[in-house]
């Protein structure tokens, strides 16, 4: 009995167990404090689904043997460029959203291929190099936002000042186009059907890719390059493919995130966006070299709902924004835990 219980705990993993119990505790507290539960649940749904694709972006990169994609900001800035160009061209609603996608995806493919090629030169150090590659691209793009030849009044400062605004409101552009699509209310809880559907479709596509000839080759190369080579698989190529898909998902992910959030965040905002996504998938039970779609779903749900529920509950008990600190501690703590667990590559 005892050993069974222990093996069950080991299977679930201590971090997941701790976080899940903590979440449960918070939910109970929320209930006791008579908070608006349906509202809370619909926030959980929205936050989970809007972050989901950014977390999903970790899957192909981990499967391809690159580790979590710490260079996610590369994909994210591609998505943002897509959005600002689409706004400049004056598209609105779904047209705006999809034209942003249409511009962002080819950019992300290009960036993913180039960066993937670089990653092949730094095998074994992808995470460290990736972190700073992401940082430098994101900070380099600050100059772009400042100097970009874009003049839409929705994006530039109203009273002069150079460059694009730090946050661009999407109100009247493509704010919540996915969230509102087929949305409905049930027991007072608002369900953003389109957003969830979009996340699920993306997940299914990634899953389908994982079952394809190329996808299987990529996973083989990720989990054992020696096996892959002896099966005639071009390991460098599958690594580039994995990185490219991850970058594209990063670009899509930020657009989905932005339309739900209602704002485009430029300049330094993308800098640290990889870390919560990495933390989420690790919380879901993934490790640096193994990840599945299930990990994405569980991890995003646990991490995001924890943050959503923690904020109002702690606000009632103590002053100040405890949720932000919780995010930092839990997120980075999780990454730290994962980094110190599996054996180093060198």
């Amino acid at each position: 009995m005892r050993s069974n219980a222990i093996s069950l705990i080991n299977n679930i993993g201590y971090p997941r167990l701790i976080i899940a119990s903590f979440l449960l505790l918070l939910l109970i507290m929320a209930f006791v404090l008579e908070m608006d539960m349906p509202d809370l649940f619909s926030s959980v749904l929205i936050r989970t689904a809007m972050n989901g694709i950014l977390v999903l972006a970790m899957v192909p990169s981990i499967k391809a043997g690159l580790g979590p994609n710490f260079a996610l900001p590369i994909g994210i800035v591609c998505g943002l460029v897509g959005a600002v160009v689409s706004i400049e061209m004056g598209y609105q609603g779904f047209a705006g959203f999809f034209s942003a996608l249409a511009i962002a995806i080819p950019l992300a493919i290009l960036a993913g291929i180039i960066y993937g090629y670089l990653l092949n030169k730094v095998k074994g150090q992808e995470m460290t190099v990736g972190t700073y590659a992401g940082f430098s691209i994101a900070s380099g793009m600050c100059i772009f936002w400042l100097l970009a030849p874009l003049y839409s009044p929705k994006m530039i400062w109203p009273y002069g000042g150079a460059g694009l605004r730090v946050t661009i409101t999407l109100d009247g552009i493509f704010d919540k186009v996915l969230n509102n699509f087929l949305s409905f209310e049930i027991f007072g809880m608002w369900v953003p059907t389109g957003l969830i559907l979009f996340w699920i479709i993306c997940s299914l596509l990634v899953k389908m890719f994982a079952r394809s000839k190329t996808g299987l080759a990529m996973q083989a190369a990720g989990s054992n390059p020696g096996f892959a080579r002896s099966s005639g698989i071009n390991v460098n190529q599958t690594r580039i493919i994995g990185n490219t898909i991850s970058t594209v998902l990063g670009a899509i992910g930020i657009l989905v995130y932005a339309q739900s959030y209602g704002f485009l965040q430029l300049y330094t905002a993308p800098l640290f966006m990889a870390f919560p996504a990495v933390a989420a998938i690790l919380i879901g039970g993934a490790s640096i070299n193994k990840a599945t779609i299930t990990h994405v779903f569980i991890g995003t749900f646990l991490f995001q709902s924890l943050l959503v529920v923690a904020m109002p509950v702690t606000n009632l008990i103590i002053q100040g924004n405890m949720a932000e600190i919780a995010r930092i501690i839990i997120g980075n703590g999780m990454i730290l835990y994962a980094l110190t667990r599996s054996v180093g590559s060198e």
């Binding site: 389908m208 079952r211 394809s212 000839k213 190329t214 299987l216 080759a217 996973q219 083989a220 989990s223 054992n224 020696g226 096996f227 080579r229 002896s230 099966s231 005639g232 698989i233 193994k290």
Partner: protein, 534 residues
């Protein structure tokens, strides 16, 4: 030889997880004596040295039985440091030298000479300053005693490889208390002339009263320098002759000799001669680290089982790895009369070759994938098996799980893979069953010619027999040509029609499985060609 012994090992026994690797070894070493130890790979030489050196791996696996005596006193050696303190030094096969350090710094590594200063008096000895003058002087003396004229303040990274072995020896000599020096295959990385020089240096060392334990497989070298020779086979001493009353022949016979029962029927010699060639290998060179092939010629006959044997490091492993495109290689390969390209696994696989690697965990298996994926993946990538398309989208190739499952079930039944089902992860399987999965992966390709390397390494006795039987069955029932590479001569004798012995990256000769032990021993030691000439 004097009666008092420097080192004595008595009744040493050691098992790894129930597998006995040393069965009561006795060893005596007098002052100034060179004692050589020879044996096939896996005979137990390195385990014995690990015990003598107090390596942690021995303690971690449950210790050993027997006694070690130094200068007649029983000692326990729990760590390499303790071994060093007792005067046992080791010249490692791979160089334990830090390239960015000078010769002096390497020779004096962790034995630096220091001067106390004000700060060290407060904060501890570790902050004592280094006395490079004295250290250089010591290093100079040690190098001079070997006759090595290289500047001791130079960096190791700027030295030719041939010097490194000698720097290591200088380091051991510099430990003033040294009594016994172990040389673990010291000539393996040296050219022939340098090896000669090393032998001279060894003589110099023993002249000063230090004893040497010399592990080697070059029989001629052993006979040149050793006073006594211990031959180990399967964890037992099979002979301990003095140099004067033994010969290359006798050593070769002792090293290999073993009775085996044949599994496969003998082939009809006359019919065999008429068989066509399936593959001709010409001047094959493979850059596989530690197993380089240096210009090998070999022909393989249709439908045979060809064994490839030889000692570790001689290049036998490199042959299949080179032909399959896993390591950079040059030369000409004709397969069924056609010349095939090298350096491309895809090309080799497409031609109808398949390979069961010696590195089961590194190359053979995807440990965190299911049995069925392991079996099917190569055939899927190369031959497009187990794939289906969605509607008319030709570019979408999805895994056809039903067909793969059916095939996997058939393989599991045919090869008798013991598992909970085709979706079990291969890491949960026993070594023998993992090997069967590897073979299943290879034969799913329907190869004309199958290379199998070290098929029984690391699996238990019962499973060994099953794997060998399986290979014979594949050969007899399907007419598949099989090239099996193995360090265990016995299993080659059990199933091969012919046995090719590789020495120093080249073909030393081909023997019939019932050839004498002396012939096998000589070939493996590279003395066969020499004998023919003389």
């Amino acid at each position: 030889m004097s009666v008092d012994l420097i080192l004595e090992m008595k009744g040493i026994e050691k098992d790894y997880y129930g597998n006995k690797v040393l069965k009561g070894i006795d060893l005596k070493l007098g002052p100034g004596e060179v004692h050589a130890m020879i044996g096939e790979n896996g005979a137990g030489k390195s385990t014995l040295m690990n015990i003598l050196f107090g390596m942690p791996v021995i303690r971690k696996t449950g210790g050993f039985k027997g006694q070690i005596l130094i200068d007649g006193n029983e000692v326990t050696i729990n760590s390499p440091e303790e071994a060093m303190a007792l005067g046992i030094g080791m010249v490692h096969q791979e160089f334990m030298l830090i390239p960015g350090f000078t010769l002096t710094e390497n020779i004096k590594l962790n034995r630096e000479i220091t001067n106390p200063n004000l700060i060290s008096k407060v904060l501890g000895q570790k902050l004592e300053g280094l006395n490079f003058n004295k250290m250089n002087q010591d290093a100079r003396d040690a190098l001079d005693s070997l006759g090595l004229a290289v500047d001791e303040t130079k960096l190791i990274s700027g030295l030719p490889v041939s010097y490194m072995q000698f720097v290591e020896i200088a380091r051991e000599i510099d430990k003033k208390n040294i009594k016994v020096m172990v040389f673990d295959e010291p000539t393996a990385a040296l050219t022939e002339e340098d090896a000669e020089t090393l032998l001279v240096v060894m003589k110099k060392i023993t002249d000063s009263g230090i004893s040497i334990l010399f592990i080697s497989h070059r029989l001629d070298e052993v006979l040149k320098v050793a006073d006594r020779i211990t031959v180990i086979r399967d964890g037992e001493i099979v002979g301990q002759p003095n140099r004067q009353n033994t010969s290359v022949h006798e050593l070769a016979r002792l090293m290999v000799g073993r009775k085996v029962e044949r599994v496969k029927k003998e082939v009809d010699q006359e019919e065999f001669l008429t068989r066509s060639e399936i593959m001709r290998i010409k001047n094959l060179r493979v850059e596989m680290p530690g197993e380089a092939v240096k210009g090998l010629d070999l022909t393989i006959k249709q439908g045979e089982i060809l064994g490839i044997g030889g000692l570790a490091g001689q290049g036998k492993i490199g042959i299949a790895n080179g032909i399959m495109g896993l390591y950079e290689s040059t030369g000409e390969i004709y397969f069924q009369g056609q010349k095939i390209g090298l350096n491309s696994p895809t090309e080799a696989l497409k031609q109808g070759l398949a390979f069961v690697s010696e590195d089961r965990r590194g190359v053979g298996l995807l440990l965190d994938e299911s049995i069925e994926r392991n079996i099917g993946l190569t055939a899927m990538q190369i031959q497009g098996k187990f794939l289906k398309q969605i509607a008319r989208f030709k570019f979408i190739n999805l895994e056809d799980h039903d067909i793969l499952r059916k095939h996997a079930l058939k393989m599991i039944e045919n090869l008798d893979i013991r598992c909970t089902g085709p979706d079990q992860l291969t890491q949960r399987l026993s070594g023998g069953n993992q090997q069967k999965v590897c073979i299943a992966r290879a034969i799913t390709m329907n190869p004309e010619l199958l290379f199998v390397s070290e098929p029984t390494r690391g699996i238990d006795v019962g499973a060994k027999k099953i794997v060998l039987d399986l290979l014979v069955r594949l050969n007899e029932e399907r007419g598949m040509t099989i090239v099996i590479t193995s360090s265990e001569m016995a299993e080659l004798k059990m199933i091969a029609d012919r046995i090719a012995i590789v020495y120093n990256g080249e073909l030393e000769g081909i023997l019939s499985p019932d050839a004498s032990d002396v012939e096998f021993g000589l070939m493996m030691a590279g003395e066969y060609k020499n004998k023919e000439v003389s």
